[in-house]
Symmetry: C2
Subunit: 113 residues, 2 copies
Amino acid sequence: MQTDAAVKSLSALAQEHRLALFRLLVQAGEAGMPAGAIAEALGVPNSSLSFHLGHLHRAGLVLQERQHRSLIYRANYPAMNALVAYLLENCCAGAPCAENASCATPEQERKSA
Amino acid sequence: MQTDAAVKSLSALAQEHRLALFRLLVQAGEAGMPAGAIAEALGVPNSSLSFHLGHLHRAGLVLQERQHRSLIYRANYPAMNALVAYLLENCCAGAPCAENASCATPEQERKSA
DNA sequence: GTCTCATTTCCATATTTCTGAAAATGTGAT
DNA sequence: ATCACATTTTCAGAAATATGGAAATGAGAC
């Protein structure tokens, strides 16, 4: 992941409708959802939704696949994980990090749950 | 974490300078950095940097603390983690998730590394 | 108090983003 | 080929954001 891609991904998520859209797809899982169903669930006009879907798609955060007459969209989990990894890269300069429940490693996070 | 706060956080990160700034602070760890040092490291004019620092601060992603004449900024790791948790909430509707190296749990991620 | 240094606020300009209706495109059924 | 449906593109205006220089604020040193 490089800076430019990260900025694109973040600005794709930094919008009310697109954030709701992405979270909806995250929850929908591998099955994904057709554009129409998303528009209805979010109460956004088709043209507007298409604009937002395109934004997320261009950023690589959602995947698109045709199924008959509908376009199915799914969250791109690996892309999301890469983004998070980029944000927290070299956390704390490899220092303590155990004290903070914060920049803890995934394993530490898990145990404290 | 609620939608509005998440959008604020994401839009705070969705900008070249602010993303670099946040990553710099993530790497700096608990020690943080004074505004001046950040401006120099990033090569951004002071007024511009102040604008961006304010943006991140308002979003709650960085913490501010005075030390003598300087203002020290540190990354707010818990806020960052809350944001990620919000994004991936109810991932895959509690379904498989084991098959995807993607929305895998932290422990699974760790093992595959 | 005065002087300096670090940081922020003010300001105008330039750029980018969001919106929704109408028209265009693509896909499958008959 | 024609029809009906799903989605995207186009378009213009409105709103939000980024920029950097100059001036203002705040904090410590003398």
